[in-house]
Symmetry: C2
Subunit: 303 residues, 2 copies
């Protein structure tokens, strides 16, 4: 397991049938990354037992309320729960001027800093990097500048084959040198090439979040082959005529993107408040891309 | 029944054990009045099946996040649900400058107006009046300017006693004249005083909301004799030493206020996140004021 995704909300703008609006937490390499933060996100974190002490980076796809209204309450509560790590908010540049006055008024004594990291949602670029991971923007098509996010693990180092190390009598210090790039020289002077001791590294995993967006094939080169694509599917086919005005997608459209981008798995979410049941959205998606799952509030997905 | 109170959240600043933070809706005379509006209030309205189409006035006790962070999401969602009545927000004057930039950005196309009605929380005054009701502020003692709210029905007109009307042969038009203030003159010229036809009016009901506050006997003259007092009870006696720093009350303190103000019923709420169970708070309050209820998220209370 490289990634653990916790879906906090699967509703669209109007909450309904117990569905909260968009928010999720991606856990990887001992860090929690939040993606979007709708009104009520702090309740979902508590209800689902997610500790937010490891949270350091929050990525906001776009400045519609159902993706960012929960930030101020989350930050305020984190302060009361003695969170100490600085919080970086990656978002459209406008968010800082909207949120900072509220932070100054309601959260003037935070035990951590809130640092805005603005990015241009319409440009594909890398907006976060640490030693294990990069996060790239995925420009989407919506009524305001909107970006998806591609979380991609960096390639890990090849593994050392213990049996071959033992066979050639390689000591601990020499094994470390091989790992760092050296060949191995035996006592008789024979040089064994480094490649002899190596096996393939654990494959790097990748996760793409695309919400909210109109059907857009422009994202395909960016998300090509990802392990999991989380794509909005606001409407069923019967309401597909609504996509153009609202700039949302159908479940079938999401599946079509998944198929064309050769992703391994698709999760659909952001369901219109008109659907108490979602089976037909899942059916419509699976006709095009069989390996599709319906997101649900509280769902935990490991890959 | 004159009032119907729906409690949406009973937690304090940090949400816990499924308790949302402070918000409630008081229904009376075909209108809904919201009191406080914590983060997530819109979800509670939907979960509890409260239609917000009758909502016109929102009263905010003070500018701590757990009493007002839900406003922007509520207003945004009301717009999507085709609410059309103007919304009046009665609050500390600072709220307008904090909320207006967000309204301008996220809710620029509302089908209704949002009108701020600022008041001074530290002055006892009448801040709302219609033909059935007044709302008065109740200055409280908290770390920021805070006000409770006293909803008081106006005295209703005396009822006409139908038997006496019939006995004296009073017609419909004459009965209306009696109701409006006239005496009745019989065919023989005898004047029957108006009071002869009247019976006592239905008693006016009153409701006081006091949250958040340190124990304060200064509120007693204002809330004297109310039908229902909703008073915060953040702490049990074992944590009473915390009241002074946090400027909150104990359950016992709330009960003491209820007893000294001769209210008919007490509801306690705003429970600290430290209490998974609340029985001991109820016990401590009932020792002092037996007619006490524990508020619970979703509770509906008619009086």
């Amino acid at each position: 397991m490289n990634f653990e995704l916790r879906v906090l909300g699967t509703g669209s703008a109007v909450p309904s049938y117990g569905r909260f609006s968009s928010s999720q937490v991606l856990h990887t390499h001992s860090k929690d990354f939040m993606i979007d933060c709708a009104d009520g996100t702090q309740y979902q974190l508590r209800r689902l037992g997610v500790k937010n002490t490891r949270l350091g980076h929050i990525f906001i796809s776009h400045l519609h309320g159902d993706h960012c209204f929960g930030l101020i309450a989350l930050i305020s509560t984190m302060s009361m729960l003695h969170h100490t790590n600085d919080i970086y908010i990656h978002a459209h540049p406008d968010l800082e001027r909207l949120l900072q006055p509220q932070l100054d008024y309601f959260c003037y004594d935070l035990p951590f800093k809130v640092i805005f990291e603005p990015f241009d949602p319409l440009q594909h670029s890398t907006i976060y990097e640490d030693r294990s991971l990069t996060v790239e923007t995925i420009p989407l098509v919506h009524s305001v500048p909107t970006s998806g996010f591609l979380f991609r693990e960096k390639p890990s180092a090849p593994h050392l084959n213990k049996e071959r190390l033992a066979w050639h009598g390689v000591g601990l210090a020499e094994a470390r040198a091989i790992k760092e790039g050296a060949d191995f020289t035996r006592a008789d002077g024979t040089v064994i090439p480094r490649a002899e001791f190596l096996t393939a590294p654990t494959p790097s995993k990748s996760y793409a979040y695309c919400c909210d967006t109109y059907y857009s094939e422009r994202i395909i080169p960016i998300i090509e082959g990802v392990d999991v694509l989380f794509h909005e599917a606001t409407f069923a086919q019967a309401e597909s005529h609504r996509c153009k005005n609202t700039l949302h997608s159908t479940a079938k459209g999401a599946a079509s993107i998944a198929a064309k981008a050769h992703v391994k798995q698709l999760i659909i979410s952001h369901f219109s408040a008109r659907y108490p049941q979602l089976d037909h959205l899942l059916d419509e998606a699976r006709e095009v891309f069989p390996d599709t799952l319906l997101a649900a509030d509280g769902m935990v997905f490991q890959f």
